[in-house]
């Protein structure tokens, strides 16, 4: 094949490839669109309440406040301050997340006034004894998964893309996840989690989305149900304050020490 013929072939195939988009390409395209739409929020302060319920219906509550800083071309920085249970009050957790490189994490222990650098290898373990794993709550970067578009399907009357995603980072507790991505919000409505043995493990649903700064959609409530243990956790977001003027300096070890 000479050069002219090759160029001609490429020209002929090009328009076709638009129609013959693979499911991987379509999955990635949707996720990148979601990422693009969620760009530029800057920083946010939130207050969250977690209610843990076991199979017998007994419940306990954890309250925390977070600050998150959006970082261009890297994972976000976050600082979480725990308010209850009262025995861990004042404990604070600083995380500088990265897409594929392991995150940098520090814990402040108020009784010892000690800042400890901690391993971020614990992705799949429970966050504060809840049904949320650390990896469920960390910054969701596009590079963290590979994607596969499956079909369109509505969730509670809302149109959604159904995308299968496979964790690309080490030590994930999941073989795969299935995400129902709202076609209007470009935010998840539901996620099914499958454990390493590919058995159905948990389902997370997102409720009462609200729009902030005329652009960014955030859920007011998240429900995580564990199908294997019958335990569940409700995560309620009481407050989202965007663009409060947080800076890199609010996410260093010095600010971790005075986080209250």
């Amino acid at each position: 094949m000479n050069k002219t013929n090759f160029a001609l072939c490429v020209l002929l195939i090009l328009p076709l490839s638009g129609f013959a988009q693979t499911s991987e390409e379509k999955g990635l395209e949707i996720v990148m669109e979601a990422d693009k739409r969620d760009n530029g929020w800057g920083d946010v302060k939130t207050e969250a309440v977690m209610t843990l319920r076991n199979a017998h219906g007994e419940s306990s509550v954890r309250k925390n406040r977070s600050k998150i800083l959006e970082v261009k071309d890297d994972g976000d920085k976050s600082l979480i301050i725990f308010d209850t249970p009262t025995d861990i009050k004042g404990t604070a957790f600083l995380s500088h997340t990265h897409a594929l490189k392991s995150d940098d994490q520090w814990l402040f222990l108020p009784s010892l006034k000690r800042v400890k650098r901690v391993s971020s290898s614990n992705k799949s373990g429970p966050f504060l004894g809840s049904e949320f794993a650390y990896e469920d709550l960390s910054s969701q970067e596009v590079e963290k998964y590979s994607y596969n578009y499956i079909k369109d399907e509505a969730v509670d009357g809302r149109d959604a893309f159904v995308i299968e995603r496979f964790p690309q980072y080490k030590k994930s507790g999941y073989k795969r996840q299935i995400v129902w991505m709202d076609k209007e919000y470009y935010q998840p409505l539901k996620i099914d989690f499958y454990d390493r043995k590919n058995a159905a493990l948990k389902t997370l649903t997102f409720h009462e989305y609200k729009q902030y700064l005329d652009q960014y959609w955030r859920p007011s409530r998240m429900e995580m149900k564990n199908h294997q243990t019958k335990k569940s956790t409700t995560l309620t977001w009481e407050k989202y304050d965007f663009r409060t003027g947080l800076k890199k300096r609010d996410f260093d070890k010095n600010s971790l020490k005075r986080a209250r």
């Binding site: 025995d87 373990g125 800076k247």
Partner: protein
Amino acid sequence: MNTFTRFQIAALLTASLFVQNSQANNEWSGSVGAEWQAFRHDSSNDEQSQNYLSIVFKPEYVHEWNDGQHQLLFSGFARLNNNNENQTHLDIRELYWNYASDSWEIRTGIRKVFWGVTESQHLVDIINQTDGVERFDGEEKLGQPMINIAYIQDWGTLDFFVLPGFRERSFPSEDARLRPPFILDNDDATYDSSLERKNVDLALRYSHYLGDWDFGISHFYGNSREPRIVSGNGGLYPHYDLIHQTGVDVQATIESWLWKFEGIHRSGMADNYFAATFGLEYSFFDIQSSGVDLGIVAEYLYDERGNEASTPFEDDSLIGLRLALNDEQSTEALLGIIVDNEGDGNVLNLEASRRIGDSFKINLEASLFFDGDVNDQLYAFQKDDYAQLTLSYFY
């Protein structure tokens, strides 16, 4: 105590100047605990008991204004013990004003500052005096008056400390267990410094992190927190040397591994010496998807002075297991053994805790001392195997 009062007044006055400003946040919290400590063996001394009961109160107060740019923090400590005279005591662990700007933080008042990375001993940590009546292992500290200025840049943090108001180490009374065989009194204390306890101590620390590495380099010049025990005038008395101490602490956090090092060089206390702790920790996270974490801790403790060392850890090893169930009650346990590599005495420690309901926590602690040699400092605790149960309420 005079220094304290001055600092309290200074802190409170400064606070009141800013208090009217914008929306302020303030909150009381803390804990109250009941503790029972029981010893396996009867005591060799008539003054001592086999059971001790105590009540601990740790109130805390935070006042924030200007969106946290200014903070006033208080943390108090009080213990009442039925059989231990000196352990019945009060202390202001912290009472200070913290001002934070983009590249500076100024912290003025009484504070606790922790430096270091290892678990078995804290060589580099030198700002605060040890509360010697609280624990035999030196883990509990007294509040230290200070002015600390932190200069914060992209290349790291430089901390300057001016430390007026030296705190003498608190010593156990005769009725206490887990104490040296002799009784010390700070009324007999002597000093290198002609200013004695009024000596203003100084410290400087540079700390930073690069990728997986966190590190600090520090220097301290002033009254040694650790007294040298000297004999004379028909007894033993504490002597506080004027020392220089340079310290380095490093931790590399690589995947599930933590690699740790702390080293100090101290001069001014009899002979110059070097001491270090080398440590590593490996964690198995979320074992078999159970949520349970198991960590293995190993540390080597070295002191150049050998048997002449002022600590019992001159050539010792720590092996420990850390278990966290990560359940709703945050059940945790730490089992550790410190072995003297020359066969001069070992300590086995257990610490476990679990939350009860939303606001209570139960702690269990136990230590066994065995195979001690008469010449090792731990020999004094040979008959002091104990278990301790604490029930605390947090508010």
